[in-house]
Symmetry: C2
Subunit: 281 residues, 2 copies
């Protein structure tokens, strides 16, 4: 038996505990941990936001007081994360019988760079219905993966097969529809879990690029993910590609919003996710 | 000249400053304020979530260090808000040149009941496009306002004219589509601002009622609003009804998600808003 080496994604989101800050009045303990950015998941400036989001979620997943699984996550990208070490403070704000609310802050040199709130909960079977339908696209194997430019390191860590709305080329020109639909999975392949699903929710390049037919300065300001999957569905998904589809609703005054869905390879809706994105144009 | 009496909505979200908690290491001051729930906006248990959300946003709007206008707001309903007094702690987490990040907590007797994060920013003209279209419905005046049962106090404070998906009657039965579209404004009429727009984003009754054709226990767990409007568009809207349209994407394991849009009477998209809702069925 040999130890399998750590997947680069797991290395990127790894955290180390510091001494707990102490007990709060209500008995809930803020946990302090440290991590560091990894070059493999760098964006143009600083780390890929999806990995930052997964790291913040991961700080809750590893917290000794954690109850149940992720239900909702909002991450606010308050300022740039510099390459190197960071500290995360993870606080259980309120624990109910079936839900738990969390507040998380990532800081560097005492300045907050990213905040998050998360709702965790225990799931139980209820009436169920998926009202939206999965886009009809060719199977993943029928679409060639797209090679991204080398200087976008994080994109090398995902196998992306675009069915619709691939990154516009040099002479693309304007496009009337901001929809992108792609099969995507970690590269190398890795079994899906809540952490990697969180990062995948941020895998869509800025919708304004597609509409304008060119790259412009843009960055996510706030991102919310609703998790519809449970542990069983994640296990069934294994390391197969998920289908992500994203579109914008309104662009203007320096911001646009994006709504997206992530579907399992078997047609199950795993997550719905929304962003507000800053842009300059 | 006579003083006009305070609109019940303004009375409901009114806050009073306590002494500021003091300066943080980064120079940003947490502001403490107090408020109280008002019977006029009560829900079945505790206050209408939309008014709680507006109250938290309002604590930022009135903060002396506030920069610009609301861009994004996430409110987590961590536990019930009891009728009576509450305290709000409002902290500027990070201030950049054009954006500012906030963290807000509402508590009662030392227990956190609601948390929020908000992004504020200064808006500047950019390329703009609204990619989705306003639902085609009859004008507000052509639809009679619906009377809600008296025991839902907050619903009396809104004039709601349903174009599609009104609250199901006793014998409604199941419905295949969770969409509700309605003209809505404050009752009595009140000029729209960021606070009332925030509350209006929570005006949709739970989508599961419509699908199931009956009321079941349900409550919003987390709610995110992206503001697309600016002060000028709010002024143009004045006290006319806005058009809200909401639908769910997936129901299952005790939760469903809702996505909604709020359109101005002139066809401008004012806000997009999303919720995760707990239900029992």
């Amino acid at each position: 038996m040999t130890d399998s080496p750590l997947h680069p994604f797991d290395a990127a989101i790894e955290l180390e505990s510091k001494t707990p800050l102490g007990e709060r009045g209500d008995g809930a303990a803020t946990e302090l941990s440290t991590g560091r950015t990894t070059p493999a998941y760098n964006n143009m400036v600083g780390p890929f936001g999806g990995v930052t989001a997964a790291t913040l979620l991961g700080s809750v997943l590893r917290h000794p007081d954690r109850l149940g699984d992720p239900v909702s996550l909002t991450v606010n990208f308050a300022g740039p994360v510099a390459e190197g070490a960071f500290e995360i403070a993870t606080r259980p704000v309120r624990t109910n019988r079936a839900t738990q609310h969390w507040s998380v802050e990532l800081s560097q040199d005492g300045a907050v760079a990213t905040t998050a709130t998360a709702v965790f909960g225990t799931r139980r079977p209820t009436w169920s219905s998926t009202e939206i339908t999965m886009p009809e696209v060719p199977p993943a194997e029928a679409i060639a993966p797209l090679d991204f430019p080398d200087f976008i390191a994080w994109a090398q860590k995902y196998e992306m097969r675009f069915a619709q709305g691939a990154i516009p080329g040099i002479d693309a020109g304007e496009h009337s529809d901001s929809t992108t639909t792609l099969w995507v999975r970690d590269r190398p392949a890795r079994a899906l879990d809540y952490s990697s699903l969180t990062a995948l929710c941020d895998v869509f390049y800025p919708r304004v690029f597609l509409r304008r037919g060119k790259a412009v300065p843009a960055g996510t300001v706030s991102m919310t993910t609703y998790f519809h999957t449970d542990a069983q569905a994640l296990t069934a998904q294994a390391d197969n590609a998920v289908l992500g589809t994203a579109r914008a609703q309104r662009f203007g005054n320096g911001y646009f919003d994006q709504s997206a869905e992530v579907w399992g390879s078997n047609g199950e809706l795993l997550a719905t996710t929304h962003q507000l994105v800053y842009f300059k144009d």
